[in-house]
């Protein structure tokens, strides 16, 4: 017999992974007064497009406006700076080719003793010679989304290769898009009180 409920039924969300900073065990996320978070991307290669896609991917994990980001072209008001060291990377259409270790990235958050974070958060990407343009482009697109995950407050790595936040010491990011665990982790983060204020 079919029944019609009066209330919407929420999904069973996966458990997700840890997001607190280590070893101090602090939580960071942007608060509503800081939205949309302003990202500035160095205009090298296709980096601005990767950043746009990264912001959109993370925004899409939320239902209640918890996180919104925007890419700005005026760096004077940036809250997050994303740059690529060295020369402009080769560009190529993104593909489903197997991942190659053609790049890496690092996100630096500077937090004082009062748990106040200095802005901007800095994301530094590197690409390596010896790989095809397609491999470099695929790698930079993935790693950019991964590093933007850190900038929203996911301060640990997942131990599952299918998550975009998979990383050291388990391995290097392999996934091309966010998993349900990535989304569930981000949602839980934004409904946990933040210890760090930007």
């Amino acid at each position: 017999m079919a029944t019609v409920g009066c209330a919407i039924t929420q999904p069973d969300r996966p458990a997700g992974y840890a997001f607190r900073s280590q070893p101090d065990n602090l939580v960071f996320h942007w608060n509503a007064g800081r939205m949309p978070v302003r990202y500035w991307a160095e205009p090298k290669g296709a980096l601005p497009a990767y950043v746009d896609e990264g912001i959109r991917s993370w925004e899409d994990q939320f239902l209640y406006g918890e996180f919104e980001g925007t890419r700005i072209t005026d760096s004077t008001t940036m809250q997050v700076r994303i740059e690529i060291t060295g020369s402009a990377p080769p560009t190529a259409p993104l593909s489903t080719a197997p991942p190659a270790p053609a790049c890496d990235g690092r996100t630096t958050l500077t937090v004082g003793t009062d748990n106040h974070m200095a802005l901007p958060i800095v994301v530094t990407l590197r690409w390596f010679a010896g790989f095809t343009a397609e491999q470099v482009a695929n790698c930079l697109a993935r790693v950019t989304v991964h590093e933007i995950g850190h900038t929203i407050g996911l301060l640990q790595h997942s131990d599952r290769v299918t998550d975009i936040m998979y990383g050291a010491p388990f391995g290097v990011v392999q996934a091309r898009e966010l998993s349900s665990r990535d989304g569930a982790s981000a949602q839980r983060l934004y409904h946990t009180a933040s210890d760090i204020t930007p």
């Binding site: 209330a7 919407i8 039924t9 949309p36 959109r56 239902l63 209640y64």
Partner: protein
């Protein structure tokens, strides 16, 4: 959503030309709504709008001395907010459009009862990072109201009405994220309508 042309045809079909009296009215009021979504992430969450002002107009036709049919269109502006624990944050400014077709009857003395069907369309200010990111819904709606009316000179009529309507809310994004079913949303509107004869 019912096409406006269909509503107009229905309005004309219900009208008896010999007794037709077309009135045009302006409506202003305030609408309160129950939660659009309830959820639980770390703690219980609900997404709902605060009581919101609304404005609208009506085209009403007297079928006889007791029965009337009306086409209405109203809009309200609110902020959709998420509430969890004792905190709340705005999700997105929201405009709500509500076209309706109503049948009303004059009851005892100046009491008027009304039943309506129609649609409700949610129009968010933006869709990034919220439950409207897969598109804003247009949903069927039913309602009824009870009001009291006063007639003044020059064919002017004033109605104060308390109306209730119901629709079932969901969005593409909610379904894509694994939500099932739909949330019954109850709305109450207190309004003042001033109408005058447009065509006698």
């Amino acid at each position: 959503m019912i096409h406006p042309a269909v509503l107009l045809v229905a309005l004309c079909a219900f009208t008896t030309p010999a007794t037709a009296q077309l009135r045009i009215g302006l409506r202003a009021g305030v609408t309160g709504s129950s939660a659009l979504v309830t959820d639980s992430i770390v703690q219980r969450i609900s997404a709902r709008t605060a009581p919101a002002p609304n404005l609208g107009f009506t085209l009403e036709n007297d079928l006889d001395s007791l029965w009337r049919v009306a086409l209405g269109f109203s809009t309200s502006w609110a902020h959709l907010s998420r509430h969890s624990g004792d905190s709340s944050e705005v999700i997105v400014p929201l405009t709500v459009w509500t076209p309706t077709l109503s049948l009303s009857r004059v009851m005892l003395r100046s009491i008027v009862a009304r039943a309506s069907i129609g649609a409700i369309a949610y129009d968010p200010d933006h869709t990034d990072g919220n439950l409207f990111s897969g598109g804003a819904p247009i949903l069927p709606l039913v309602g009824f109201g009870l009001g009291t009316e006063r007639t003044a000179g020059n064919g002017l009529r004033m109605i104060i009405e308390l109306a209730y309507d119901l629709h079932r809310f969901t969005t593409t994004k909610l379904r894509d994220d694994g939500f099932s079913g739909a949330q019954s949303v109850h709305r109450l509107t207190l309004s003042l309508t001033l109408s005058r004869i447009a065509v006698n």
